[in-house]
Amino acid sequence: MTRRGYAPRVLAIPALVGIAFLVLPLAALVGRVQWATLWQDVTSTEALSALRLSLTTGLLATAICLVIGIPLALFIARAAPRTAALLRAVVTVPLVLPPMVGGLSLLFLFGRSGWLGWTGWQVPFTTVAVVLAQIFVALPFLVLALEGAIRTSGIDYERTAAGLGAGSWTILWRVTLPLALPGLLSGTVLCFARAAGEFGATALFAGNAPGVTQTMPLAIYTAFNGAGVSQGSAIALSLMLLVTSVAVLLLVRGWRPGGGAAVAEELR
């Protein structure tokens, strides 16, 4: 067998610790599932309505992220280096910010006494607030993944297309986005996963009203706190989220962190 690289073999030990640390907790979760009541738990009214709400708000947030995130990623990727670095930093802030702080900030923008309070638009503690909170935390994932892919593929192919007579919309749809497709796919998956799993900002900005703002993560939290529901329900809901996440990753074959750049390199 050919030797794959020259990393010191002893590094296998911390590497194993790392993978165990990621896998064991999830195994422990699955180990606690009460299989007898599982079906009952996941088909309860609360669970189903939380699932429905999570799916619809998550998909809607992802769609809005695509509409505003693709242009933003294009703009950053083609901006002058300094402008691009600045914009990238701005986009990264919500990514590193504790989601609670994001929720608080949204409250001070959209709340009754916030900057947009004079409009009389009642946003907080509605389903709209759920979507806004999800967009706030999920948009950076899409923009950063896509921006990297677009920047890596460069403008040479776009120039070639322009020389052949293609207009800017044709170039966008038939050259730029197809070339950045791996980045777009992984960005969209991450964006949806982050939106569907959003907890902190939603809790502060949208509250925890069943059927209106209680998404899966909030339902899990509520169930686990023992507000009249058993822990079994929390575990069942968690299992559902876990299975969904793995399924999405499997669906989008070829997903890998930084996959955009790697695949673009292969295509060349």
Binding site: A161, L164, G165, G167
Partner: protein, 302 residues
């Protein structure tokens, strides 16, 4: 199929680009259907010149005209690349990696709203012309370098360009593959009547393909004539060095000495070259030269 018959435009470019210490100041004219080779040392400004004509580089002064229409000048009458009808084909074929060979060739016509079925049928005919019939479904990654360059050439010609700019299209290919592409270029450029400007490092390409050769050195034109004329009477050391790379061109010439005359600081030698023309050479004072001797003159080495 639509053969891009006689689509070539007359090209008339007065180009000045100031870029820090470097100034490109050169004129380039080509008749419709004419093939002009552009040669010069690296950094002489060849690629910049092609970039200006293609519309990717701004002018500091001058104009670019196609069939008399100004498409670019320093005051920014700037016809964008996609409306110019000028296609630049470089060392890298730059085929779109996500499209197969057929769709790559059909890309230009499709962008100009040619119906899909007709664009594909034309692309299929092009594949046959470039010797790649049956490979239309292959993505570029599954074509060899030479095959990719063939597809890139067909993709460029399928748009019936008013001018085709070639920037060392054969440089990254092995000699045998390059020969094949050279033959294809010769045939297709003549058949389509395309106006061509071709930057190259290979004097053999200029001799084999071009009607005219322009030599560009440090941003200035130092030679502009038929390739054989430029290479037979090299005006600069660079042109002389080029000439020596072409078999059969003026590699060296011989002078039969007829008489000598001593002047201050040297000896003037009168003689005749092989074609009978009279020649005078100035020699250092201490070189013994007798009538009847033969002096061999070689262009200097760079």
């Amino acid at each position: 199929m639509t053969v891009a018959g006689g689509s070539g435009a007359a090209l008339d470019a007065e180009i000045r680009v100031d870029r820090g210490a470097f100034t490109l100041d050169a004129a380039l004219r080509a008749e419709p259907g004419e093939i002009v080779a552009l040669m010069g040392p690296s950094g002489a400004g060849k690629s910049t010149m092609l970039g200006v004509i293609a519309g990717f580089v701004a002018l500091s002064a001058g104009t670019v005209r196609l069939d008399g229409d100004t498409v670019q000048d320093a005051a920014r009458i700037d016809v964008p690349p996609r409306e110019r009808g000028v296609v630049l084909l470089g060392q890298q074929p730059r085929l779109f990696p996500h499209l197969n060979a057929r769709d790559n060739i059909a890309f230009g016509p499709r962008s100009r709203r040619v119906p899909k079925t007709r664009a594909r049928a034309d692309a299929e005919a092009w594949l046959e012309r470039i010797g790649l019939a049956g490979l239309g479904d292959r993505r570029p990654a599954r074509l060899s370098g030479g095959q990719q360059q063939r597809v890139a050439l067909a993709r460029a010609l399928a748009t019936a360009p008013r001018a085709l700019l070639l920037d060392e299209p054969l440089t990254s290919l092995d000699p045998a593959t390059a020969d094949g592409i050279r033959a294809l270029l010769r045939g297709e450029l003549a058949a389509t009547g395309t106006t061509v400007v071709m930057a190259t490092h290979d004097a053999a390409d200029a001799v084999a393909l071009a009607d005219r050769l322009i030599v560009l050195e440090s941003g200035r034109v130092t030679g502009d004539a038929a390739p054989s004329a430029v290479l037979d009477a090299p005006a600069t050391p660079f042109a002389a060095a080029l000439a020596r790379t072409v078999p059969g061109a003026a590699a060296s010439w011989e002078v039969r000495v007829e008489g000598t005359r001593i002047i201050a600081g040297g000896v003037i030698v009168r003689g005749r070259a092989a074609d009978g023309s009279a020649v005078e050479l100035q020699m250092p004072p201490d070189v013994p030269v007798l009538p009847g001797a033969v002096i061999s003159v070689r262009p200097p080495t760079l």
